[in-house]
């Protein structure tokens, strides 16, 4: 079967796993997840590809698996990217309305958005997203659709996400090298937020934190628009590494200890408790203090939340997160992680659910898949937008119009 236009594929090349999710838009515009493929990643550090050959192999595996499950041929993907080089900031674009009647047209809107994207980035950097927040007409703000309004000066606030061009291209190159087309490159944090937040939550104000293997990506919404994005190049691998160092065990064993005995809380039961560790051959290897294990984890995770809190405090956004905080990514599986986040952020914290899309229920319930599912959702907005071309002005009114990558 062929990649019909209603098939949308999201591909995340994570530090821990490579994941392809296949979605299908039915005739009523409802999005269904119909396939998932996965592979363990080799060759990615802190979200960035260091060994293209190894990654290619993983991508191929994940894509084939997803194709088989969904029974489609995948030709193009929405590709997720992350890395410590990715940054977000807010910018305003200005455009004088020149038409004789001063009525704002679609072209004016395109021009002002273009101006908002024309920013001085560090050399070698490129704009990944310029996401519309709202318009101003002659200085009056809060305008969502200025087309048809009268005014002399049109402005737009955008949230710009940018990153290092070469480093972004590394991922694109690998995918293209496999005869797969890249529809769009999307920041992972943004994708995850699309998977776990409802429109009401975006309106109220919410923070989504995706704790992956090598990075922690986060996105803030308020008033229905993206206000802030960030990447902290610290993730689950750091927890593992800290444990390996502190408990004097090999990395592989540390990862296992983290998953089997880890928690973001030190309860009374583990105090003073030890555990004997044996090698693969069953020989005694080491004795591990469970309290130490927890303490090492708590300190690392606490720090991650503290750094995010500091960043948001500086941006003046902590006060506006009325829907609270949503966790996803593999790190959200750590027991008691929400409780720890709550302590540090002093906000209600819940584990993000990807119930904004329907389909394979068991798949959707996993926090690791938030990004890939979000990528599909991102693609579906594009898709609907394509359909809606003739009524471009109207389209701006819906929330999807707020996403205008590149």
């Amino acid at each position: 079967m062929f990649d019909s236009p209603s098939i949308i594929v999201g591909l995340e090349i994570g530090t821990s796993k490579i994941c392809a999710v296949v979605g299908e838009m039915n005739d009523d515009g409802v999005l269904n997840i119909i396939g998932v493929g996965q592979a363990r990643t080799r060759g990615v550090r802190k979200g960035e590809i260091v060994d293209a050959r190894a990654v290619e192999e993983g991508v191929r595996h994940a894509i084939v698996e997803a194709e088989q499950m969904a029974d489609v041929e995948i030709r193009s993907v929405y590709l997720g990217v992350t890395g410590g080089h990715i940054r977000g900031f807010n910018n305003r674009g200005v455009h004088p309305v020149v038409s004789a009647d001063r009525e704002i047209s679609d072209e004016d809107v395109l021009d002002v958005v273009k101006n908002a994207k024309a920013i001085n980035l560090p050399q070698d950097n490129t704009v990944l997203h310029a996401i519309r927040q709202h318009f101003l007409v002659d200085g009056h703000d809060g305008v969502t659709d200025p087309v048809g309004m009268l005014g002399a000066r049109l402005e737009v606030d955008v949230h710009v996400v940018h990153g290092h061009l070469n480093r972004l291209q590394n991922a694109i190159r690998v995918v293209k090298g496999m005869q797969l087309e890249v529809n769009e490159v999307v920041f992972n944090g943004l994708a995850s937020s699309l998977a776990v937040l409802s429109n009401a939550q975006k309106e109220l104000g919410a923070l989504v934190i995706d704790i992956g293997g090598g990075t922690t990506d986060y996105v803030v919404y308020s008033g229905g628009v993206i206000k802030h994005t960030g990447v902290l190049a610290v993730g689950g691998d750091h927890v593992t590494n800290d444990l390996a160092f502190g408990l004097k065990v090999p990395q592989g064993r540390a990862e296992q200890l983290k998953i089997e005995n880890g928690s973001a809380f030190i309860d009374e039961a583990v105090k003073g408790q030890t555990m004997n560790i044996t090698s693969e051959l069953g020989l005694p290897l080491n004795t591990v203090n469970l309290e130490h294990l927890r303490r090492i984890m708590v300190m690392r995770l606490e720090e991650v939340f503290q750094l995010i809190a500091q960043d948001l405090e500086q941006a003046g956004l902590l006060e506006y997160l009325r829907a609270g905080v949503f966790l996803c990514g593999g790190g959200a599986r750590i027991p008691e992680i929400a409780r720890l986040a709550e302590q540090v952020l002093e906000l209600p914290v819940t584990l993000g659910k990807t119930n904004t899309v329907s389909g394979l229920k068991s798949t959707l319930d996993q926090p690791e898949f938030a990004t890939a599912i979000g990528l599909v959702r991102f693609g579906s907005f594009k898709f609907r937008k394509r359909e809606a071309r003739p009524t471009f002005g109207q389209n701006l009114k819906n929330v999807f119009g707020k996403l205008l990558p590149r």
């Binding site: 550090r45 802190k46 260091v50 410590g84 902290l232 190049a233 610290v234 691998d237 750091h238 593992t240 590494n241 800290d242 390996a244 160092f245 502190g246 004097k248 990395q251 030890t274 004795t287 591990v288 203090n289 130490h292 303490r295 090492i296 300190m299 690392r300 606490e302 720090e303 503290q306 750094l307 809190a309 500091q310 405090e313 902590l318 006060e319 506006y320 009325r322 302590q343 540090v344 002093e346 906000l347």
Partner: protein
């Protein structure tokens, strides 16, 4: 498993080639600098600056500030005259600073020379390109409020020109002494403490750090505290040296029974040990300090010297954040300055800094139309008290931690994650100095 989680021995450091000039200014300053010259501040150049012939110091180059007008009368207790003399001889002072990367300025504030000359000298030193740290004593309350006033003025001026000012009120040093000890003893005790403080900073600068503190970082710390810092040094030896040092610290009289640590905003810790100094020792001291300084950002440096085999020296410089507002001398019952056991007036803000005002953000904020102040007011009314203070971020800032101490494991080859100068790839618990025991 006991606390020896990281017990690989640390390699011995060498001394660094850094040119330091130590100035003693005025009678008290020269006396103290003279003592230092006689001790192990090897490699430093000493300069004594005076306006009269009250003292000389062996091993120090002498600079006499004279004015034709004053005919060798010196400053005579008047800081303004001291200042004029220094301005007149500004070029000479600047020449004396030439070639120094770091200038330590040691003086007793309250008289005419130390108080008047030091700020000018500090400026001269900065102009010649040096980083300037001033170590000053403040007069006893009973020396009279004129001296006290002069000292405060001098201190304020110094703070604006020097990169950092560390001050020690004589009154505090006196607490170390028996009640009926004389002034001479008290001065000696102060001088001793001040010199220990200088030594702690000196070590940070001169010994190749295992965990290095940049001088700029140190200055930033002192500046952030508006120059008023209190400090303490303890030394211990033998196998239990880390534990002993920990016990001695809060008991140190200059730290007011640990109170100064509890209230400190920033704490600089300098550890010096022998080649046998282990990371576990460092951890133990740091873990304990973390508990004693719940609010502080802690900056730690550790160095190794051959001569410190089996010994450990811990120097702490604790700084509060609130600037002193008024410089009123604390009046006694009959209008005279009080001689109370607690240093009057001077360090109280340092030891009891006002807490940060930020309300808890767990409260859903009222409509954004309200200003920040209004919101805070409302919150204060609602709760009747200030909301809980948000936990400070990573409290310990580390500048460089050589890789041979902590192997970065799986991040060895990837681009390091640096946040505000801190390498986040290193385990958080190590950076925060938490011992596992």
């Amino acid at each position: 498993m006991d606390s020896e989680i990281i017990s690989q021995p640390l390699s011995a450091g060498e001394t660094k080639k850094r040119s330091v000039t130590i100035f003693g200014v005025g009678t008290a300053g020269i006396t103290m600098a003279g003592q230092m010259a006689a001790e192990d501040f090897t490699g430093a150049k000493f300069v004594a600056v005076n306006t009269d012939n009250s003292v000389t110091a062996a091993g120090a180059e002498m600079i006499h500030l004279e004015s034709k007008m004053l005919r060798g009368l010196g400053a005579g207790g008047d800081p303004e005259r001291g200042c004029e003399l220094a301005e007149e001889n500004f070029d000479r002072l600047k020449t004396a600073c030439a070639g120094a990367e770091v200038v330590f300025l040691v003086t007793g504030l309250g008289g005419g020379t130390g108080t008047g000359v030091s700020p000018v000298l500090a400026r001269a030193a900065r102009e010649s390109g040096a980083l300037v740290l001033a170590f000053v004593t403040l007069p006893f309350a009973c020396e009279g409020n004129q001296r006290e006033r002069h000292a405060r003025q001098g201190l304020e001026q110094l703070k604006t020109v020097a990169d950092g000012v560390i001050c020690l009120p004589h009154q505090k040093a006196a607490k170390l002494l028996e009640e009926h000890a004389g002034f001479a003893d008290a001065f000696r005790a102060s001088a001793h403490l001040l010199i220990e403080g200088v030594r702690g900073v000196w070590r940070l600068l001169m010994y190749r750090g295992l965990i290095e503190i940049h001088f700029e970082e140190l200055c930033a710390l002192l500046r952030a505290g508006h120059g008023e810092s209190c400090f303490a040094t303890v030394e211990s030896a033998g196998t239990t040296r880390a534990r002993d040092a920990i016990e001695k610290l809060p008991a140190h009289p200059l730290l007011d029974g640990g109170q100064a640590l509890t209230e400190a905003e920033t704490v600089l810790v300098s550890l010096l040990g022998g080649p046998d100094l282990s990371m576990a020792d460092v951890n133990r001291v740091m873990a304990d300090l973390n508990e004693h300084c719940p609010k502080a950002r802690i900056i730690m440096g550790a160095a190794v010297a051959e001569s410190f085999h089996d010994r450990l020296a811990v120097t702490i410089i604790a700084t509060g954040r609130q600037p002193r507002t008024s410089a009123k001398p604390a009046p006694g019952k009959n209008g005279k300055p009080a001689l109370t056991p607690d240093a009057p007036g001077f360090d109280t803000e340092l030891l009891h800094p006002t807490k940060p005002e930020r309300p808890s953000s767990r409260h859903v904020p009222p409509a954004p139309a309200l200003s920040v102040e209004q919101r805070e007011q409302i919150l204060a009314q609602q709760t009747g008290k200030r909301g809980p203070v948000r936990k400070a971020g990573p409290r310990m800032k580390q500048i460089t931690l050589p890789l041979d101490i902590v192997n970065k494991g799986r991040f060895d080859k990837s681009e390091p994650t640096i946040h505000k100068g801190e390498d986040l790839d290193l385990p958080t618990y190590v950076r925060r100095g938490v011992a596992l025991n």
